[in-house]
Amino acid sequence: MKKLLIATHGYLADGFKSSLSILTGQQDQVQYINAYVDESDYTDALEAFIDSVGPDDQGVIFTDIYGGSVCQRVLLQQPASHGIFHVTGANLGLVIEVLLTDKPITREYLEGAIEAARSTMRIVEEEAPQSPQEDSADDFFA
């Protein structure tokens, strides 16, 4: 089965959980680590997640920022050697896509999903597109 973990500095992981709850109702299918919110060591939780991912499972760990200590800590656990992908700089769109997809979680799939998510980080223009496509039935049915 699909096993996902979100590990972040502070309560961002719980923030993802809150958003996933509102948008998908499937927040319980993801595990969360809010690092550094108390004195406890989150390495145990990380190891437990990695150990829980069996050979027939598809595991992905999302972390918040490339090069950050959470990202580093995950790297040190070498999840790839357990067949688990580690994606950093995760955003909500990416997590929802991976959570809801029926496709197998392959490197190729993840690269496509990351590219799609990356393309949504952008300045929002307030100018209408020059030739609005949305009112032509022919385009719609094409």
Binding site: T24, I96, P132, F140
Partner: protein
């Protein structure tokens, strides 16, 4: 074929764009809303809310019915949105046999009519008298009409919500 008409006063938003299009397996969205056809800014927000790979059409209800009745629509799975029950009713009546389900999700809380006249069916459905009449009529059209915010929620028939409210 219109897989679902969703009544949602936010039209295309996160739940709709990211979750329901996947759940329903649709790749085309019709927004049936007269105001949206007249507002560039609103159309822009709808375009923005449309996920990559999905096609969007913004029409008033009569034109939306024409699209649903177009022979080219028969082999397609289309997701439709209205922002009020009345529009959904007109859509169902104007496209007989083309609508598989109606999901009354979020409606009426922001329609600016007097809250004192409204009937609350659940936390996300508040109907003014005209909308309530439309809702009753909608339940009699022979198309399944239910309330389901997100796919993990159970489907509650709209009729039972109306009856539970004593209306």
């Amino acid at each position: 074929m219109i897989a679902q008409i969703r009544v949602d006063d936010r039209l295309i938003h996160g739940q709709v764009a990211l979750v329901w299009t996947k759940e329903l397996g649709t790749n085309r969205i019709i927004v049936a809303n007269k105001h949206a056809t007249e507002s560039d800014v609103l159309r822009m927000t709808l375009q923005m809310g449309t996920p990559t790979g999905q096609k969007l059409l913004v029409k008033d209800v009569p034109d939306a019915c024409r699209i649903a009745n177009d022979p080219r629509a028969a082999g397609m799975k289309i997701f439709a949105l209205t922002n009020c029950v009345r529009d959904a009713l007109e859509f169902v009546k104007g496209a007989p046999g083309q609508i598989q389900t109606v999901n009354v999700a979020n409606v009426g809380r922001f329609d600016k009519t007097d809250p004192a006249t409204k009937v609350t069916l659940c936390s996300t459905i508040m109907l003014n008298p005209d909308e309530l009449e439309a809702a009753k009529e909608l339940c009699e059209q022979g198309v399944p009409v239910y309330h389901q915010l997100i796919p993990s929620d159970t489907k509650t028939p709209l009729k039972s919500l109306i009856e539970k409210a004593g209306k």
